[in-house]
């Protein structure tokens, strides 16, 4: 998996892109963060960029952490951009958009309130597609070492000699 930093300015990016939920589709084959500070982009080979953008929004709606940037959700679902997985994902996202149209939106990512997107996902949560995405996120998102510090989790400690001298008993509020 690669998370590529793009070299474009925000203006260049805006000029080439269409808004898709939390992220931009920029030209052919790229999805990027929409915020000025979100200096990230991923290349998609097998999925339509719009599909990847929708998948990223869906990932955030399943496991929403407001302090976790889109790039981590993008990395969590990047693995579906493979020749093997792409057809099933395109089909699943098409069904998600179809369901969105059923409640009056042109696409899933155009549903403005998280509450409404989540209601839609609830109606689909027994589908194999939803469970595939949700199940994959459990490791795809939470097993990213770069995500751990956001939650305060410190990971490996052996190389630092454990916590015997680094606060295993430092609680001070009891």
């Amino acid at each position: 998996m690669s998370l590529r930093k793009h070299g474009m300015t925000r203006r260049q990016l805006l000029s080439q892109s269409a808004l898709f939920g939390a992220s931009f589709v920029i030209g052919a084959g790229y999805v990027a963060g929409k915020a000025e500070a979100a200096n990230w982009a991923i290349e998609v080979e097998h999925l339509k960029p719009e599909t990847m953008a929708t998948l990223i929004q869906m990932a955030r709606d399943i496991y929403p952490h407001d302090q976790v940037g889109d790039q981590f959700y993008a990395l969590a679902v990047k693995g579906y951009d493979s020749a093997e997985a792409a057809p099933g994902i395109e089909e699943g996202i098409a069904a998600l958009n179809e369901a969105a149209r059923g409640i009056g939106y042109a696409a899933y990512t155009l549903i403005g309130w998280e509450r409404d997107r989540v209601d839609l996902l609830r109606s689909l949560e027994d589908t194999a597609f939803f469970q595939q995405i949700r199940g994959g996120l459990v490791t795809g998102l939470y097993n990213q070492k770069a995500v751990w510090p956001i939650f305060g989790y410190e990971g490996e400690s052996f190389s630092q000699g454990g916590y015997i001298d680094r606060g295993f008993d430092d609680i001070n509020w009891l």
């Binding site: 952490h65 995500v147 939650f151 305060g152 410190e154 400690s157 916590y163």
Partner: protein
């Protein structure tokens, strides 16, 4: 003869599995001068190989061969192919265990007598008097270097323990301490003191926690009387026309089959694989599997009444720092039917890293109710419930011929339904666990469902009468004198305590018995 031993050497004791039961038995017999071939399905990993990373370690150590599940337990829904979280490696699940080393209470050896006739439970008493176990427990505690026994000091209290202790004291609990742990508080028996690293479940990189992988196994090998063949999966046990076992057929890492002859065979593959092997060894003489004239092989599967309580607080706890199991409350371990159930339970602190917390806090859950819990992971404390569950004949390991493993053998299906006593006990334990944390100011509590089983017990149980169980008081099968069971599957009941110390004590005791029986040519 000294190791390595010839495949045709029929003087050896073959032990299948090298964990708390098999690994200890192998060393104890080797120390007595008895030739032992130990066949271990997994590879050999030592402290330098262990990984401080939950999923990477799981990939390295866990038994992930195919299994199936059924029954009303939630594990069958959430982790249908992973009924148990146990290890495939030299040392077995002693690499993964938390280290809690508790003796049974006297009454727990006699559950049928103590609890009476519990509807739906297949209770019998152990054919062992608790006084027979005293010396063996002492030997086991010495071997494992158990803290707070034999004059050894306790471990210091971690953050997670301090939260737990304060809540426990607020509720009036009195038996609250940092546990009797097979984790060195000070350097002991050529092993280092605990460095409070966490990752006890992933194999102790300091060797501070006892595991047969780096204690009993190499010590047995050093005698020249023990040969461990790793990555060798036993497929079946062979017998002769006289009904005595004669050896085992196994497949090695290259996929080549061998037959190792044996004078005695000891099965110690844990409570799922051991009955599976006996059932897969069915023959025309023993059509229902070996040692199964009672029909009890695979039945009475127990996994302890478990569950966890996590809670979040206003300020950080950082429960992952330090030993994974850092303390215990024993007040509820007593038998007191006034609580609405028989038997008792222990409460023990527990922590999971963020990756496993995401997987196990509420499997399948999603959305903000779930993610806001993880948002406060740093402020979370946790404990685990371990209590006595009722043996039920219908909770059992069977062969699932619809699914085969990489060797073409039918896999084990693990069926489990909670007994009403289990449900009542878990509800009580959740209530107490929640009260403990609320007494310390918890802002939110999480009564978390049981994980895939680490305490797998009872599927080849001990019984006084051959019709009630599979093995006698020494783990010797009722049907076949030179076939033994040497792991937790011989447990007649589960008791409230973590089982490893009792498995080790029984293995030491069984070694004495086998040596004596061999000495008088009875085997």
């Amino acid at each position: 003869m000294t190791a390595p031993f010839d495949l045709n050497d029929d003087s050896v004791v073959v032990i299948i599995g090298t964990g708390a039961g098999g690994g200890v038995l192998a060393n104890e017999l080797a120390q007595k001068g008895i030739s032992v071939v130990a066949l271990e399905a997994g590879g050999r990993y030592l402290p330098e190989d262990y990984i401080n990373d939950e999923w990477d370690s799981f990939g390295q150590l866990a038994w992930t061969d195919a299994r199936s599940t059924s029954g009303d337990w939630r594990v069958a829904r959430d982790f249908s192919g992973l009924p148990a979280w146990i290890v495939k490696a030299v040392g077995g699940t002693t690499t993964h265990w938390a280290g809690a080393s508790l003796r049974f209470q006297d009454h727990e050896w006699k559950p049928r007598t103590t609890y009476g006739d519990v509807e739906g439970a297949n209770l019998i008493d152990w054919p062992i008097d608790p006084r027979e176990m005293d010396d063996y427990y002492t030997k086991a505690e010495t071997k494992l270097g158990v803290t707070r026994t034999g004059g050894r000091p306790g471990l210091p209290g971690s953050n997670n323990y301090k939260v737990f202790e304060k809540g426990a004291k607020a509720l009036g609990y009195e038996e609250v301490h940092t546990g009797r742990m097979a984790i060195n508080a000070v350097d002991n028996d050529d092993r280092l003191a605990c460095q409070q690293t966490g990752f006890c479940f992933q194999g102790c990189k300091w060797g501070a926690k006892w595991s047969s992988a780096y204690t009993d196994i190499p010590r047995g090998e050093a005698t020249g009387n023990l040969e461990v063949r790793e990555r060798c999966h036993v497929m079946r046990i062979e017998h002769n026309q006289a009904g005595k076992v004669t050896g085992v057929v196994y497949v090695d890492a290259d996929g080549t089959r061998h037959e190792q002859k044996a004078r005695v065979v000891c099965v110690a593959g844990n409570s799922i694989e051991s009955p599976r092997l006996l059932l897969n060894s069915a023959s025309s003489m023993f059509p229902d599997g070996l040692a199964n004239s009672s029909g009890q092989v695979g039945r009475n599967y127990m996994r302890h009444v478990t569950g966890s309580v996590y809670a979040t607080f206003e300020q950080p706890v950082r429960m992952w720092r330090g030993t994974t199991m850092a303390g215990i409350i024993q007040d509820e371990a007593r038998h007191d039917p006034a609580r609405g159930f028989v038997g008792g339970y222990e409460l023990e602190t527990l922590s999971l890293g963020l990756p496993f917390m995401a997987a196990f806090l509420d499997p399948g859950a999603w959305g903000r109710e779930f993610t806001t819990a993880l948002d406060h992971y740093e402020n979370m404390a946790g404990m685990w419930i371990v209590g006595e569950d009722m043996p039920q004949e219908t909770n059992r390991i069977t062969l699932n011929s619809d699914v085969t493993d990489q060797h073409g053998l039918p896999v084990a299906n693990v069926h489990f339904d909670d007994h009403p006593n289990d449900v009542a006990m878990r509800a009580h334990a959740y209530q107490q666990g929640i009260a403990i944390y609320e007494a310390v100011g918890a802002t939110r509590v999480f009564p978390t469902p049981p994980y895939p089983s680490t305490h797998n017990l009872g599927t080849n149980r001990m019984s006084e009468k051959p019709r009630d169980g599979v093995v006698n008081a020494h783990g010797q099968s009722h049907d076949i004198a030179n076939l033994f069971v040497s792991d937790g599957s011989q447990f007649t009941s589960g008791a409230a305590e973590n089982p490893t110390l009792t498995i080790v004590a029984l293995a030491i005791r069984q070694a004495d018995f086998i040596a004596a029986e061999m000495g008088r040519q009875a085997l």
